[in-house]
Point group: D2
Chain length 460, copies 4
C-alpha cells in the first residue's frame, strides 16, 4: 500500500516546507516535489494543510485501577480518542504494587493493552516497593524496552518513595541509560494539610488545591533535582504545574544539568478558579498537582517558549463525574484524582499556543512529538517526519474550527474539562504506521492493531 | 560588691568607646568617664583592653549520652572551660528519647546541669518522637523558658524527623514565639552512601566526609527553609558548613524570610584535609556535618561578614581519642561524632576574624554574644554591655599571645583540634553576674554557681 | 553646663535600656542608673521616652542654585527645620561647576553654610568636570574632611560623567579611603524619552516619571556597581527608588562587595499616583528618580529590614510651588527637580517603620543615624549614644501625635508632600553638642552655631 | 543539472536519517530511499557520510580597511576558504563611516563583494554615525535586504555609540523587524586601562587582554540587554567570550526576553595563555574581545549545549603576522585586531564539539547553519536540508583526519591560530546552489558566482 500525501507543508521541530510525502507500507519513503501520483495507491490532498508527525503522549493512565473501579478509558477507547486528536503513540504507566516484581507489573499492563490498543504504546514502570532485588531487576526492564521508571514523592504509605529509594533508583536508572520520571509533591506536608482541612470540615473540592499549595511542588521538585545531581543522573519531572517548580528546573538547566520537565494543557488553560464551579462540578478538576492560580500560566508558557519545559503530555486519567468523581462528595480527599485530556492536547496547544503566538509551529511539533520521542527512546522511529520513520502522520487543517465537548468527544468519560471551547486547527487524516485510522470524524482503524513499543535508552 | 572596670574600651555590636564601667552586685549600673574609684570595692585596670559582653555559646552537648558512655565534658568541666575562653552562658540540648515527654527530657537535663554548672545555661529541646501530645506539650516548654526546639533531618531511625513532623513543629513553634533549630543533612542519602562505602571496605575516617557530601547539606537546608516558609515560621540552621547551604539561606533572606544560621569555628579554620592525618588521627575531626574542602571557608567568612550567617557557636561535643574515638577503628561509622571547641571559640574568631580583618570588632561581638542572645530570648539580660544588663563581662587583651593546646586547655578531652596554633588576643578577666570567675589562668568561680536561664521568645 | 536626662530608654543600633544620661559640655559623659540629680545644672525627665542619637541626613541640597534662583531652604532655615525633626547633622553637596577646582567648590559651599547653620554639617563634593588635575586634587579634599564624592550618570551635558570618569574617580576615591556617591539613572536613555515625550506634547508632570522608567535606574545602578567592582572600590548609591536597582545592590552584596545604598522617605510613602493630583499639583513630587508605582515600596521596606539598604536620607531639595515649581507648567522638563523632607524623615520612619513593625527600633536608629555616621566618617563622634560621643540627642516621645503640614512645618517651602498625614512619635527635646536647641515647638538654638564636620575615611 | 547524493545520512537541526537526496538545478527537490540513479546527471556516493546544510558564518570582515591596509582576505579568497571549510554563506559587515549615509556604506561593500565572492553573501550594516536621518534610512536598508545593524560599545571616538544611540537604534530596528548586533565591551573603561598600561610601559600582546578584562564585557552585555528590554526589541550579542557576559544573556533569556548571542571557536579552543607565546607570536591572537582564561571555555560550552548561546560564527578578520600584526611591536594597542577562522569553524566544532560529546550532531548543525539562518532572515532558503531549499550542501566524512595549518589552508594569511592541530571530520564535497564548488582539495567553483542575499526579517 502506497499513500501519497500531496502538496502539504511538512512540519518538523526544525523545518516547514511544501512537499509531497510518499508512504510505503508502514514507512515514510520519500519527500519531494511534483511526485507522480501514478505510483501511489491512494492520494491525500494536503493542499493548505500541515503534515505533522503523529503526536506522542508520554503520560497516560488507561484502565488504571483505583479504589475498586478503573479509570474510565481502557486501551481501546483511550488510544482511539487519542487518534481522533492526532496522537498516535502513548506511554502508559505500569504499576508495581507492594510485593510484586517489576516483571509482574509489566506483564499485567501488557495484558491490559494487548489486543485492545488502536495506536502504538509503550510503558513506564511505576516503582512503589524498591529493594535490592527490584533495583537489580531494573536492568531486565530496560532490556525489554521499558526504559523509564516513575517514582512518587507524594502519597505516603501508598506510592511514596523515601529519598534513599529515590537516590538509589536515580543512580541505577542513570547507569542503565534509563530515565526517572518524578511526581514531585511533598506528600508529608500535604498529608498534614489534608488532615487539618478535614478536621476543620473543609471538604469542598477547592480544598484539594488549598491543601497542595505550589510551595509543596516547588520543594519536591527542587529536592528531586538535587538528588539527581547527587546521583549524576538525568531526571524528568512529570506534570509540572507551579512556577516555583519551573524556577527550580530552570536553575538546574542553567547549570547544565540533564533536568527535564513536562507540563500539561490543564495547567495552561484551566486554573484554580475552576474549583469554584457550583454543584460539586469543581470535582471534575481534582487532579494532582491541582490547578493553580492563573498567574502560574504565564510562567509555564514562558518555559515552553524558552525551552525550560521540554514536553506537553496529558496525564490523561479520566473518571466519570457520575459514579466516580461523586464518591468524594463531603470529602475532597475521596474524589478520584485525574481528568481526561488524551484527545484534546493538540487542539489546545495549536489553538492556544501557535494561534496565540506563544510558541512557534516548529515548537508545537517539538513539544508534542519530537522531544517526547527523543527523551523516551522512540526517536527517530517516532516523533518526526523523515524518510525511514514510521508513517505516523497527521494532516492538520490550520483553519478548521472545532468545539471541544463531551457530546462529541471520543473519550469514555461523561464530561469535558474544556466543554464548549471553540478551537481553530484540527486533524483531517491521522495515519498510524501507514494506515489511515482516522479521517474526519470516521474511525478507520481497528481494536488491537497497536503494537508495544520497545523503547531505547534515554536520549536527552 | 561593686567592681569598677577602669579605662577599657567598651565594645558592643554597634559601638566601641573608652569608658569606665561600674558593676554593682550582678548588674552593670554605670558607664562613664573619670569615675571615682573610691566608691568601688575593687578596681580592675582595663587600660589598653576591650570590655566585651560574655560570650554565649548556643550549641553545646555536655554530658551527652552516646553509645554507653558520655561526651567527656560535663556541665562543670564544660562551663569552666567555656569561662576560660570568655564564654559565660551556654545553651545545651536536652534530648527527648522515644516515648518520653518533653518534660521528662527537660528535667533529665536540668538534673545534669544543676549543682555543677559554673556559668549560666539554657536548654533547647531535641524532639525525636513527635505526636499530637508532644506538639501540645511544646507550649509548656515555652512557658518554662525552653523556647527553642531542635529537629534532625539526618540519622533515620534514630533522631530523624520526617517532613510532616518538621512542618508541624515549625507551625507550632512559630505560633508559640519559639524557634526551630535544624540539623540539616539528608539522612536518607547519607545512609545509602555510608552503606555503600562500608560494603566497599572504605572504612577510614575520611569516608565519613565523603559519605556526607556538601550537596546533602545543601538539599536539606533548602528543604527546611521551604518548610519554614510554608509554615510561616522562623528557622535557625545549626552548624552550617557548606557553601550550598549558605546559598540557600542567602536566597531565603534576600526574599525577606526569617531564616537564620550559625556556623562553627571548625568549619572556618579546619578542612577535609584534616581527615588525612595519619594513625587514625583523622577521627578527631569526625563530626556531622563533616569538615569541608577548603573552598567552603571563604564562603562562610563572606556570610559572616555580610550578615547571611548570624551566629558562631561551637557544637562542642568532645570525645577522648583514647577509648572513645578509637571505637571507630575499622569502621568510620562507629566513631563518636563530635569535637571539642567550647573554650577556643573567642580566641579563634578574634584572631582569625578580627585580626585577619575578615570581620570587624563589632561584628565579632555580635556573632559571639549579641545575636545569639537576641535570637534565643536572652537579650538584653545577656549579650551586650549596657546599664541594667547582667555583668557577664570579658576583659580582653587584644595583644596577648596564646597557644591552643591539649596540654593547657581546660576542656576534659585528650586532644585539641587546633593543637599548637598560636593566636593573638585573650581574656584577662571573666565576670559572670558580677563575679570574677576567671583571672588570667586562675579559676575563681565555683561549681554549681551557674543558673538556669529561663529564656524569652524568639527575637529575630 | 551639665544636663541630666533622666529615666529614658537609651536606644542605639544594638541596644535599648533604661538609664540616666549625663551630658557635660558638648559630650556624653555617663550613662547609669539612679544618678544624683544634684550634680546636674538641668534635669530633663525622659520617663516613658526614648533617648536617641541625633539624626544624620547625608543627602541635602540647601541653598542650591537652580536656574536663576535657589532651593528655598538655606543652611539656616534648613538645619533649623532639620532640628525640629530630630536631625542634628546634615551632609550637603558642594558642586564643582565646569572649569572650577574642587577647592573652589568646597569654599563656595562653606561660605553658604558658615554663620548660618544651626546644626553641624559636612560636605560631599559633586564632581562634574573630571580631569587629571581634579583627580589629583581629590586627595586634598580628603585631607580637609571631604571624604565623599558624588557623580551623576544622568543629565548629559550638565552633570553626567562618562564611564571613564566614573571608573577613574572610583579607583582614586578607593585608594584615598573615600567613597563615591552615585546618582544612578541612565541619562542617555532618559534624554531620548524626554525629547520624544515633549515632541508628542506629553507635558504634564506625570510624564516626568514616565520618561524615567525604573529600568533606567536599574541599568545605571547595575553598571555603577560593576564599575566599582572593576575598580576594587566601595560605592554608595543615592536615593535608590526602584526594585530593579535594589536587586542589583542585593546581588552585589551577596557576593561580598562593598556596595551600599540609601533610600528616602518619599519612595517609601509616596508613589507615582501622586503625579495624578489635579491642578498641576503633581509638580510637587517632581524629583529624580521619580516616585515609583506602589509595588516598589514593599521591595524597599524589605531592603531596609534585611540590610540591603543601609541608610535613609531625604534628598531634601525644596522649591516653592508658587514661583518655582510653576515654571514647568506646559513642560514637565522645566519643573525644578526636588522636594522638601529634611524635617519629616524621623516622623515618617518611626511611624511607618517602627510603628507599622516593618523595622525594629534599633534598626530605625541604625538607618537614620548610626549607619550614615559610619559610612561617612562621623562615627563615633556622631550617630550613637555612647560615652565620649557628641551629645547630639533626641528625646523622643513614642506616643505623641503630630500632623505633618505646611501650616506648621519649619521648612521654608509652601507645601508639604505629606500634608495632613498624622503620625505617632515626635521629639520633645533636641540637643546638639550638649545644647538644647529645640524643646517642644520652641527653637532655642541660634543661627551660626553649627560647625563644619571634618569627616574621616569611609568606614563601611 | 540533476545531482543525486546517495546513501548519506541527512542531518538537520532536528533529524538524522539515511536517505538519498536529489538536487535539481539550484534546489533540493527530493529526499527518499532507493532513488533511481538513472534520472541524475551525476551521483555522489555519500555512504557512511553525513549530508549537512552548508555552513553559514554570520560574522566576517573581508576586505576590511584598517589603518592604511585591509584585512588580508577579500571576498574571493575569503569565501573560497569558507567553502573549503564547508561554509557556503557569509554575512559580512558594511561600515558606515562618519558622515556617510547607510546607502553609501551598503554600496561600498556590495562593490567589494560583487564579481568576487564564490559563495553567497549578505551584509549587516555597522552604524557609527547615528542621527535622525540615519535612523530614518534604516527602513530603506531593511527593504534592500540588510536587516541587521551593528553597534559598538567599545572604541570611543571611533565606532562607539552612546546609550542614546543604542536605544534609538534598538527601538527602530525592532519596529522594522530588524536585529541589532552588539559588540559589547565597555570602551570607556578599556581606554583608561590601555592608557594606564602604556604609561607603565606594559606594551606586550598580553596586555591587550589584561586591559580588556572580562568584567568590561560582562558590564556592556548586561547594559545592552537592559537597553533592549527597555526598547522592547530583540538583540544579538556578537563574539561573546566571557562567562560574565553569558550569565547576563542567560538571565535575560530565563525571563523570556528575545536575547541572542554567538560565540566563536577561538573562545572555545584558545585561551589567554596563547598571549604568552614567545617572539611576539602572542600578537596573532590579538582580537577584541581578547582570548580569556581557560575557565571561561567550560561556561561557553555549557551555553552552547543548553541553548543560551545560539550560534557559532568566526569574526574572521585576518591580518598577516608579517607586515600587519608586526605594526604593534612595542605597543600592543597598535596591533591590528583580528584573526583568521572562516575555514576552520566546522572542523573545530565537529571535532571538539560533536567528537568530544559536548554537543550533539543536530546541535552542531543548528549552531553553524540553522539558527544563524533563522536569526538573520535566510531561512528556509538556507540553513537546512529540506525540499525546496537551496542546495547548499556539505558531504561530511566523520572519520576523515585533517591537520589545520597555514601550509595547507586556503585563507590568505600567513599563520593559522590552530597550527598543527589534528581534527577528525572533514568535508568531501561542498555544493552551493546545486553546484559542486569543492571536491576534496580541489576548488571547482569560480570567482564571482556568489550572489547577494537579500535577507528577510529577524526570525528569532
Amino acid at each position: 500500500m502506497r499513500i501519497l500525501i500531496k502538496d502539504g507543508t511538512v512540519v518538523t521541530a526544525a523545518d516547514a516546507y511544501r512537499a509531497d510525502l510518499l508512504v510505503d507500507g508502514e514507512t515514510i519513503v520519500a519527500i519531494g516535489r511534483g511526485a507522480a501520483e501514478a505510483t501511489a495507491d491512494r492520494v491525500i490532498d494536503a493542499g493548505g494543510k500541515y503534515v505533522l508527525p503523529g503526536g506522542i503522549d508520554v503520560h497516560t493512565h488507561l484502565d488504571m485501577p483505583f479504589g475498586g473501579s478503573n479509570s474510565s478509558d481502557d486501551f481501546e477507547t483511550g488510544t482511539r480518542a487519542a487518534a481522533f486528536g492526532g496522537t498516535t503513540s502513548v506511554i502508559d504507566f505500569a504499576i508495581q504494587y507492594k510485593g510484586e516484581t517489576l516483571q509482574k507489573a509489566f506483564e499485567n499492563w501488557l495484558a491490559r493493552a494487548e489486543g485492545k490498543a488502536v495506536g502504538d504504546y509503550g510503558l513506564h514502570l511505576v516503582m512503589t516497593d524498591l529493594n535490592d532485588a527490584i533495583i537489580d531487576e531494573m536492568a531486565s526492564m530496560v532490556r525489554q524496552g521499558v526504559t523509564s521508571f516513575k517514582l512518587f514523592m507524594a502519597y505516603p504509605g501508598v506510592f511514596m518513595a523515601d529519598d534513599a529509594m529515590i537516590y538509589r533508583a536515580l543512580v541505577r536508572a542513570g547507569s542503565l541509560g534509563g530515565l526517572v520520571c518524578m511526581h514531585a509533591e511533598n506528600g508529608w506536608v500535604i498529608d498534614v494539610l489534608v488532615r487539618e482541612a478535614l478536621a476543620k470540615r473543609q471538604t469542598e473540592p477547592r480544598h484539594h488545591a488549598l491543601t497542595r499549595p505550589p510551595i509543596t511542588e516547588g520543594e519536591a521538585t527542587q529536592r528531586s533535582l538535587t538528588l539527581a545531581e547527587a546521583a549524576g543522573a538525568p531526571i524528568y519531572i512529570v506534570h509540572l504545574s507551579a512556577s516555583q517548580a519551573l524556577d527550580a528546573v530552570c536553575a538546574a538547566r542553567d547549570r547544565g544539568l540533564p533536568a527535564y520537565a513536562e507540563t500539561c494543557p490543564q495547567y495552561l488553560f484551566l486554573s484554580a478558579e475552576n474549583y469554584e464551579e457550583p454543584d460539586f462540578n469543581g470535582a471534575k478538576y481534582v487532579m494532582s498537582p491541582p490547578l493553580r492560580p492563573k498567574e502560574h500560566q504565564a510562567a509555564l508558557w514562558r518555559g515552553l517558549a524558552t525551552g525550560d519545559l521540554q514536553a506537553v503530555s496529558t496525564d490523561h486519567c479520566p473518571f466519570n463525574f457520575k459514579g466516580q468523581k461523586e464518591l468524594g462528595r463531603g470529602d475532597f480527599s475521596k474524589i478520584p484524582n485525574g481528568a481526561p485530556g488524551i484527545e484534546t492536547r493538540l487542539y489546545l496547544m495549536y489553538d492556544g499556543g501557535v494561534g496565540e503566538k506563544r510558541i512557534s509551529l516548529n515548537r508545537f511539533v517539538e513539544l508534542t512529538a519530537t522531544a517526547p520521542a527523543k527523551l523516551f527512546g522512540l526517536f527517530p522511529r517516532k516523533g518526526t517526519v523523515a524518510v525511514g520513520s514510521d508513517a505516523d502522520l497527521v494532516v492538520w487543517d490550520p483553519s478548521a474550527k472545532h468545539v471541544l465537548s463531551a457530546a462529541t468527544h471520543h473519550m469514555n468519560v461523561d464530561y469535558n474539562p474544556y466543554e464548549g471551547r471553540q478551537v481553530t486547527g484540527a486533524p483531517t487524516h491521522v495515519l498510524s504506521r501507514g494506515e489511515v485510522i482516522v479521517e474526519g470524524d470516521k474511525f478507520l482503524g481497528r481494536r488491537g492493531r497497536g503494537q508495544f513499543l520497545r523503547r531505547g535508552s534515554f536520549g536527552g
